[in-house]
Amino acid sequence: MRRWLFAALPLVLLAALLAVIVWSGPADAVRGENYPPVERLTFQRVTLEPGAIVVNLMNDGPDEVTIAQVQVDDAFWTYDADEGTALQHLGRTTLRIPYPWVEGEAHVVRVLTSTGTPFEHEIPVAVETPRANARFFGVFTLIGVYVGVLPVVIGLLWFPFLTQLSARGMDFLLALTIGLLAFLFVDGAHDGFEASAMLPESFQGAVLFALAAAGAFLLLEGIGAWLQARRREVAGANQGWVLSVLIAVGIGLHNFGEGLAIGSAFALGEVALGTLLIVGFTLHNTTEGLAIVAPLARERQRVPAVDLLKLGAIGGVPTIAGAWLGGFVYSPVWSVLFLAIGVGAIAQVIGQIARQMGRDSSPVRAMAAGPVLAGLFAGFAVMYVTGMLVG
């Protein structure tokens, strides 16, 4: 009883302190009465409909914000706000602006508050925002298949060739895989931090990203350990299969984030996704198939075609789901979360492969071997060069 009392006492005092602060308002004493409010508006989502721009806004500043007027491309424009124009902290609203936007051209939406503070959003390329109908569902599925599923499956077809490689060749291959994954790690982290910068400040994007990445890493460590324990019981040591599944999962999560990026790029009107761009993603992702089967090839076991397909599906299909989600219900929070999960998963997989390579000696010594260093570099370079096609 006494113990709980001691646990509760600081909490009670803290509550009292907060009450005093709110009541006395020391910040107001500093700011003065006529200090202008701290206004902050974040564009959550901008969608383009025929003849209209629809913007979803959030007030992520400390003070209330009242939207007064809207300017599109330096012209006052009328709008409807069914959910009102006075936004409390973290309040949202949707403005519907009947503006004759021009397909393929750029537009700037500027929202002016009651104090005349402007908040701007640029639409670099105006394209009608996909709506969740059968046609766009089909288009997104097709894009997902092109950039996610098929390239990964094609990459898997290297498997029979890989099993013929020498031990040195195999080291090179695994190192190549690490190189590929390391690239995706850096790339994903960069994108994640970039996306987190677009979040409302209240969401603390960078911390959210790190938290989700660490969570994914630890979760996959747990799953990996569990899978290995189970495999050992059933069929003896089969490290290769477990590692391949883990890599497929990691790459699948990464591709989910990639699909999300592609879908949301449509949704945000930020991209004209040309054929060349799709070709770039396709080439880029073929190398991911290689990464998935490399550990299996090292085991030199026969793997049924069905199992290969399963791995391909784990690695590739999430792209489609990502494209759907990104295209239809995009929000920057999803982007940050999934990019983070992808990064955490890839970090975990890199650790797994490194441990497997170092089975016979210390990982550090294993990494220092010539073929390994060459593989690492080659993996990174391959991704870098194919990445140039999409960046």
Binding site: T78, E103, P118, D191, A265, A272
Partner: protein, 353 residues
């Protein structure tokens, strides 16, 4: 690879032909998106939303308001007094004060202005050539201010020279003869000048020709329906670029509340440009032409046009007569200014088509 910006992509590849590649891709899949993007344009409504509060500044009243003519007589006497002088001219005394005040420049949008007598533009001062103008200026604001009148005056009355600014709580009396006749302006000349002007410290200073002294005509300007129009703009986020443009402060005011005029009756517009940050402003009238009297210092027109360009601080008197009833749009011919609030309507009534 997340940041799929088309611009960077085009810059990187130099392939501008890819600009419409998404549209091309979409069409490959059998869509005809183009048709959907062009609904009737009548459904698109340019302009501000809502109306400004009727309790604040009234742009329509300001058009025909000079020497506090809209103020009730007893209150007006405190702000403006006329005293005849032996030579037939008048001593005109004005009470002008500077005060900080939040003004509504577009519906729901408030600007922390510095004002003369609580309004932007300040009250129109109108005298006749040769009158004595005496302005008692009190600074009730939080910064030093002054009044600098355009027109003939000795340096001591300039209000712009070092040391001539009036400190908060202080006052100064500006006194000079109204000369020459024409359309002038007054504004604060305290530094930083841009800020003191764009925050709202300006107004019209109009000197009518004295009938006997005007060469030739002898009768001054003929009677007309007269309007004071001050082209101004507001930089609401203080980045040295204007967010809102208007004539007489309130964006789109005369679109919602057209200026009523009568067919066949001469119209005279006293047009002043006090826009800051943009080098020039302009006035364009639809369906009509007008005679221009630059700076109003001559009774002979210099030009007949439908579009007039004025530099910062420049002004002109425009004269015309409406031939047809109906709505006549007027706006800056800088389309950007027009669409950012500087656009209005005359509504001509009476007469025949």
């Amino acid at each position: 690879m997340l940041k799929l910006s088309r611009r960077s992509w085009l810059q990187a590849t130099g392939l501008s032909s890819l600009a419409g590649s998404l549209a091309a891709g979409a069409r490959l899949r059998g869509q005809d998106a183009a048709a959907a993007h062009h609904p009737p344009h009548g459904s698109h409504v340019m302009g501000t939303v809502g109306r400004v509060s009727p309790d604040g500044f009234n742009p329509t009243a300001f058009l025909r308001d000079w020497n506090f003519s809209r103020v009730a007589p007893d209150a007006r006497h405190k702000l403006y007094r006329e005293t005849p002088r032996p030579d037939g001219t008048l001593l005109r005394e004005y009470e002008i004060y500077a005060a900080d005040r939040e003004i509504e420049i577009a519906p729901g949008m408030f600007f922390p202005a510095w004002t003369y007598n609580g309004q932007v533009p300040g009250p129109t001062i109108r005298a006749t050539e040769g009158d004595r103008v005496k302005v008692t200026f009190r600074n009730l604001g939080t910064h030093p201010h002054s009044i600098h009148f355009h027109g003939w005056h000795p340096p001591a009355m300039d209000g712009a020279l070092p040391g001539q600014e009036v400190q908060p709580g202080g006052s100064f009396v500006y006194e000079f003869d109204a000369d020459p006749f024409g359309l002038h302006l007054y504004h604060c000349h305290t530094v930083p000048l841009k800020r003191h002007i764009h925050k709202g410290l300006y107004g019209a200073f109009l000197i009518d020709p004295r009938p006997s002294t005007a060469p030739g005509a002898g009768a001054g300007r003929p009677p007309a329906d007269e309007f004071v129009m001050i082209m101004n703009a507001f930089d609401t986020n203080f980045d040295a670029e204007n967010e809102v443009y208007a004539v007489n402060t309130v964006a789109n005011a005369y679109m919602h509340d057209p200026i009523r005029v009568t067919v066949g009756r001469p119209v005279r517009i006293y047009l002043i440009n006090v826009t800051e940050f943009d080098l020039i402003n302009s006035f364009h009238l639809h369906g009509m032409f007008f005679d221009v009297f630059r700076t109003g210092t001559s009774l002979t027109t210099s030009e007949r046009t439908d579009t007039l360009m004025l530099c910062q601080g420049e002004r002109a008197i425009l004269e015309t007569t409406f031939r047809y009833p109906g709505d006549f749009m007027f706006h800056a011919h800088q389309s950007e200014f027009a669409e950012l609030g500087w656009m209005g309507l005359f509504r001509a009534e009476g007469g025949t088509t």
